[in-house]
């Protein structure tokens, strides 16, 4: 019965682990304001190419781990990541065949929505963002997306993650 088995689960897990590590390494100086949310971007990638493996539930769990790691409210990133996965999974057929520019732009929109959700919740519990800088990581993410996409695609092909 089971002829096609999903393979390379460890590659996905390792990519998330590396993203966690990368997300907590500050960038030099003012650039740090644009530090991309690597975990969210890796999540977008896997939701886009393997939507039947990495979906809303997995993303929610990843978000929960991020909440604990960053000391945020339990559920804050979980909610945002679930929404991010929903958007990606629902549109993955289109995004996958978009031209690189359009794909990057879609990623920017997704990341902006994610940032907005996270900071909206922060605002509810008494830490409203004081300026527009909280959206900067989404811009950083957009700039880093093409590189991340190529790296993850090569990794996926090399390890034949299906």
């Amino acid at each position: 019965m089971n002829t096609v088995r999903p393979t390379g689960g460890w590659v996905i897990a390792a990519s998330f682990l590396l993203a966690f590590v990368a997300a907590s390494i500050p960038l030099p100086g003012e650039l740090d304001r644009f530090r991309p949310d690597w975990v969210a971007m890796v999540l977008i990638y896997w939701c886009m190419v393997l939507p039947y493996r990495i979906g809303i539930g997995t993303s929610w769990l990843v978000g929960l781990v991020v909440d604990v790691g960053r000391g945020a409210l339990l559920g804050q990133h979980a909610l945002a990541f679930a929404a991010l996965a929903y958007l990606t999974v629902q549109t993955h057929r289109r995004i996958r065949v978009f031209s690189p520019w359009r794909q990057t732009f879609s990623v920017l929109v997704f990341l902006l929505i994610k940032q907005f959700l996270v900071f909206w919740i922060s605002g509810v519990i008494g830490y409203p963002p004081r300026d527009g800088w909280y959206l900067a990581p989404a811009v950083g993410g957009m700039i880093a997306w093409p590189l991340l996409f190529v790296i993850l695609r090569d990794v996926r092909r090399h390890f034949q993650v299906t």
Binding site: I25, G71, G75, S122, I125, P128
Partner: protein, 302 residues
Amino acid sequence: MAALKPSRRIHDLFTVNPHATLQLGLWVALSIAMMTVDHRYHALDGARDVLATAIYPVHYLARLPSDLQNWLSENLAGRAALLQENTRLREKQVFLNVQLQKLTTLEAENRRLRSLLESAVNTPERVLIAELLTVDFDPYRHHILLNRGRQHGVYVGQPALDQQGVIGQIIRADPFTATAILITDPNHALPIQINRTGARTLALGTGHFQELELPHIPNNEDVKVGDVLVTSGMGGRFPRGYPVGTVTKVEFDPGSPFAHIVAKPVAQLDRIREVLLLENVPDAPAPDAPALPGGVAAPKRP
């Protein structure tokens, strides 16, 4: 992961998840429920403990690059540079020793005077050194994560200092890590005293690392730029007399009853590496302690 049937893969191409919207709704509802419970009742601290312990290695991994860089620069430093640093440190130690001698006499004298006044004697404080793991991702919230937790004796409410002065207090202690809130966090208020006049007030965080706000100081109060602020010991969290900041701006607005006063923290809050956690029962002043001259009514910590 569940194995997939071949036919399912083809099927997947067209309908990956027909119930995605419903699923999202359920997860979002769960998140909101969890956040409410976490925020209002702190009932999930146990789960957080378990998860925090599980991801502790990730924090270590994240520190690895910078640790490696420090290790390399320390180990590959030239002999001349090391000798130079050694001389510099030796000079500094002599200098500090001289100051310490003075301090010992002062401390003894202080204790004698206090015993004459029959007020509580300062207990010497024990210090725990913690290192910074990560700074909060949220630029509007000044929280830092430290590499010491309950296992090392960290508790909620413990005051945190660096070499220069007060930086904040512990707000959450997990088994191996702890979160501290900095005095510049918009939700933090620190009971302070102006060292020169003894006027008591609060230092409110503004969300900027270089700014503290001093509310409730009347226009006719004697405050000057350069005045040193120290902890007042009110509220019972912080011991008395630790440096907090210096006044950088005083504006008297005739239209409002209070002056607009801004101070700069002495601790370099945006470049913390090591944190000293004080372990003692803070010596809050006794209720009948003689009021200091010019003291305003001190509000308690909110």
